[in-house]
């Protein structure tokens, strides 16, 4: 009774949210799993159990394996690129330079606009039209004598097409990575740095021996966040070239096969695999974050 009086109101207060998340996240995940094990094709739901048939079929579905290949290349290029650029930006901005706020604002603003808008702008910048229709970056390259850079961008052969998508995604997200690194670098106490300077360490050595080791947790966060964003990439591709197999990824294929071709069972199977892929990186991350918090 005492426990009820003590915790009752608190639990009552969060109950609506818990129910909502219980149903809309966990209930739906389970429901989706059921669909992925069923024979539901067409507009009317059907839940006859077929075992893992939908999953085994995916293995021999060329469109699916193609989309997986694309997302793997995309993840490597996008995560690597965004980390490099984000780190470079943070490194340049970090040393209390003049106009720091201005630089940060410029590098971070793409985070504020929708990926649909990002895709629309980049689709025109990366147009592969030729002759009189040539435009965008290709037009710029040819007019300043850099013809060798002219290419087909996201209409190029695989695996290069997804790399063009990675450029747009990197433009949108490397500012975020900069912000993460910047917060990590600022977290290294000035006292510690000053102590090293007094001991005669150069700026570069201060960075290498004091700041760098402390950036490892930040690097881990950044990788986890980028990888899970990369697995979920949808809007960007949808607005850039939705029907193209050159850049199709599982999140897109899931949408087409489900809501366009009404293969709900196959769509659910892809979605479950997507969920597993994300969970593999996210669950340890949440676990680790919670443990660090408890230690503090």
């Amino acid at each position: 009774m005492y426990r009820l009086r003590k915790w009752g109101p608190a639990i009552l207060l969060i109950l609506p949210s818990l129910l909502a998340i219980g149903v809309f996240v966990y209930g739906f995940l389970g429901w989706n799993l059921t669909v992925s094990l069923s024979d539901w094709r067409g507009l009317r739901p059907s839940y006859n159990y077929v075992g893992f048939e939908n999953y085994t079929r995916l293995a021999s579905d060329g469109r699916f394996t193609n989309s997986v290949g694309n997302v793997i290349v995309f993840t490597i290029v996008f995560v690597g690129g965004a980390l490099l650029v984000g780190f470079l930006l943070a490194y340049l901005v970090e040393r209390r330079i003049r106009g720091e706020g201005f630089f940060r604002a410029i590098f971070l603003f793409p985070m504020a606009i929708s990926l649909i808008a990002v895709a629309i702008i980049w689709r025109w910048l990366m147009s592969n039209a030729t002759g009189a229709q040539q435009t965008g970056l290709n037009r710029l390259f040819s007019s300043i004598g850099l013809e060798f850079l002219v290419n087909d961008w996201f209409k190029a052969d695989q695996p290069f097409a997804v790399m063009a998508v990675a450029i747009a995604a990197g433009w949108a997200l490397s500012g975020y990575i900069m912000a993460l690194f910047l917060a990590g670098m600022r977290g290294v106490s000035d006292d510690l740095r000053e102590a090293a300077r007094v001991d005669g360490a150069s700026e570069r050595r201060v960075f290498w021996h004091i700041v760098r080791p402390m950036l490892l947790p930040v690097l881990m966060s950044a990788v986890v966040i980028l990888v899970h964003i990369s697995f979920k990439t949808f809007d960007l591709i949808f607005a850039m070239d939705a029907e193209s197999r050159l850049i199709e990824m599982p999140a897109i294929y899931m949408w087409f096969t489900t809501f366009d071709s009404f293969n709900f069972n196959r769509g659910a199977a892809i979605a479950t695999l997507l969920m597993v892929g994300v969970a593999v990186v996210i669950v340890p991350y949440i676990w680790y974050s919670m443990r660090m918090e408890r230690r503090q």
Binding site: W7, A10, L13, I14, S17, A20, I21, F24, V25, W31, V35, L89, L92, V93, R95, I97, F103, A105, F109, A112, S114, L115, I116, A117, V118, I121, W124, L125, S127, A132, G136, R139, Y176, A179, A183, D191, A195, R197, D199, E203, S221, A222, I225, F231, K232, F234, D235, F238, T258, F264, G267, A268, A271, T272, L274, M275, V278, S289, M290, M292
Partner: protein, 287 residues
């Protein structure tokens, strides 16, 4: 650790290359700013050109005369979506934040046994690929007759809960327990402490949470196309994709539409960047 000694600036060991390094740093930064602004440059010069001056060849040229004609052409195509997103995103972000405040308060200041596990389970909802819940979601919403703006707002409220809870939980954790304890000594119960003590001191967290949720809801596309069936209820991103998402549309109209659809979130970013930034950092958990 060694005792701290204040060293006069001019006694510090400094490389004689230091001034050059600083110059190089600024040069690199300006080069990167130019690179980052290429899309903005194209967007602005294209959208402001007179339609008669627009051609693939002229993409990089400055406009001869400034003209708002292109904006006038595309605005009618976006207007409904714009209004839809506004009436959907504003209440959704406020309600999601209020619920998040309650959760965050309980999970940091009224920790019942197992509160951390509950929090981790809530948090997980933030990272799931939404594809993995779309089929049941669409099914439930169409059975409930909610394939409209109300349904879309509901979806943003619910899937926004993990991040709003996280924002408020971190915020309340940074506030000393004494304030809460004091109100308990005064005899106030949990609900009253929340309403009269916690909410008023959490205004900065409300700013972060509402701004973040507004931006998310405004920029969302996936829920928009899956949840909403009727064109009159489409959010702005869906309207934008339909207007500008094909190669048939002249590119100046595509650019102007993209610019128009980005104005609200860009305004929020420019005016309240500090809060936006904190929402962004919250999403990364603890680095």
């Amino acid at each position: 650790m060694s005792a701290r000694v204040d060293v006069p600036r001019d006694l510090r060991i400094r490389s004689r290359w230091a001034p050059h390094v600083t110059t190089l740093r600024y040069l690199a930064l300006f080069a990167l700013v130019c690179l980052f602004l290429i899309p903005v440059y194209v967007l602005v010069v294209t959208a402001l050109k007179d339609p008669s001056q627009v051609s693939p060849r002229q993409m990089w040229n400055l406009p001869d005369v400034l003209s708002l004609d292109t904006f006038r052409t595309v605005w009618p195509k976006l207007e409904t979506g714009f209004r839809n997103s506004l009436v959907m995103a504003v209440p959704a972000s406020i309600i999601s934040s209020v619920l998040g405040a309650a959760n965050g308060f309980v999970l940091s200041k009224w920790r019942f046994p197992g509160a951390d596990i509950v929090f981790a389970l809530i948090l997980f909802g933030m990272f799931i690929p939404y594809q993995s819940i779309l089929i049941p979601l669409r099914q439930v919403l169409s059975d409930a007759g909610l394939t409209n703006l109300t349904g879309l707002a509901l979806v943003h409220i619910i899937y926004g809960l993990p991040i709003t809870t996280l924002i408020f939980r971190s915020y309340f954790a940074s506030i000393s327990d004494e304030l809460i304890d004091a109100s308990q000594v005064d005899g106030a119960g949990m609900l009253r402490t929340f309403a009269y003590v916690a909410v008023p001191i959490a205004l900065p967290a409300f700013a972060v949470s509402i701004i973040w949720q507004f931006t998310q809801a405004w920029n969302d596309f996936l829920f928009g196309i899956v949840v909403v069936t009727r064109a009159t209820h489409w959010p702005v991103t869906v309207a934008l994709n339909n207007t500008a998402g094909s190669q048939v549309v002249p590119y100046h109209e595509a650019m102007a539409a993209a610019a128009l659809a980005s104005i609200p979130t860009l305004l929020v970013y420019v005016l309240m960047g500090r809060f936006f930034m904190r929402g962004l950092m919250a999403g990364a958990l603890k680095g």
